[in-house]
Symmetry: C2
Subunit: 156 residues, 2 copies
């Protein structure tokens, strides 16, 4: 348990919740653009992906944090992988953590990561993992994570 964990709460009237279909027009894509390239995603494409995530909700757990106006200001995905190793154990993968630029400094990213970790534990995961760039290691250490290896990539 990290030292700031006991007191970690959201600012007043901010909410952590599952992604909704209506978040397409509620700053979800714009918040993800802080993290990386999103591209031009039309509403039907979002709806199709949302349906895939919903139909596989034992695997995909997309979440958001909304501000007092109900607008999405942080994103995060928990992917729950069913493995054979470790007695048919499950591993949680945390993906696509992003916080709107004008909402940074409120520990929303920290809250998102810890909430997804708690969710992974409730799903019976024996561990939760994520990949990050070296300059984000300190942030994830504050979230209760430690360095465990190297991420390798092949791009197509």
């Amino acid at each position: 348990m990290t030292q700031d964990e006991p007191s970690l709460t959201l600012p007043p009237n901010y909410t952590f919740r599952k992604l909704k279909l209506t978040d397409y027009s509620n700053n979800y894509l714009e918040t993800l653009r802080v993290l990386t390239t999103v591209g031009n995603i039309e509403e039907h494409s979002f709806a199709n992906l949302f349906r895939i995530w919903e139909e596989n909700s034992n695997i995909y757990q997309p979440h958001v944090i909304t501000n007092p106006e109900g607008v999405v200001v942080a994103t995060g995905m928990l992917l729950v992988e069913a493995k054979l190793i470790h007695e048919c154990g499950k591993v949680g993968h945390i993906e696509d953590i992003s916080v709107a630029i004008d909402e940074q400094g409120k520990k929303l990213g920290n809250y998102m990561v810890k909430s997804l970790s708690t969710l992974a534990k409730s799903y019976g995961c024996y561990k939760v993992i994520l990949d990050c760039s070296p300059h984000n290691v300190g942030f994830y250490e504050k979230c209760g994570f430690k360095n465990d290896g190297v991420e390798m990539v092949q791009r197509f």
Copy 2:
């Protein structure tokens, strides 16, 4: 493309294929024990997990390599994640690569990783990623991967 890729083939009468239900009693678990703890997994537990993987075959792609006797001697999982970012892009996660100890030195691990990468590309993934320990970086570089970040973990 790495320099050994054009000539990479399996030894004679070795086969790369999808995992089968009957691999429970065909050295699949024993091969995974080379990698990590597997535990005591009864046949019905394996069958249940196999069913989950089959029912979600757009996400889970477990594969094996068998030797001339048809026995499993290498394992590997491709997990295909449907994302929103990168124009509703897909990311392949390579997991649980293991090679039976008495079959090592035949480049079976290399063949497995490259085959799963090719499979990820055929699924439309824009990249394939994996996590490894620092001493395996050289092996994955030979498979066409490069270091892209840090793996962080929280264990429960």
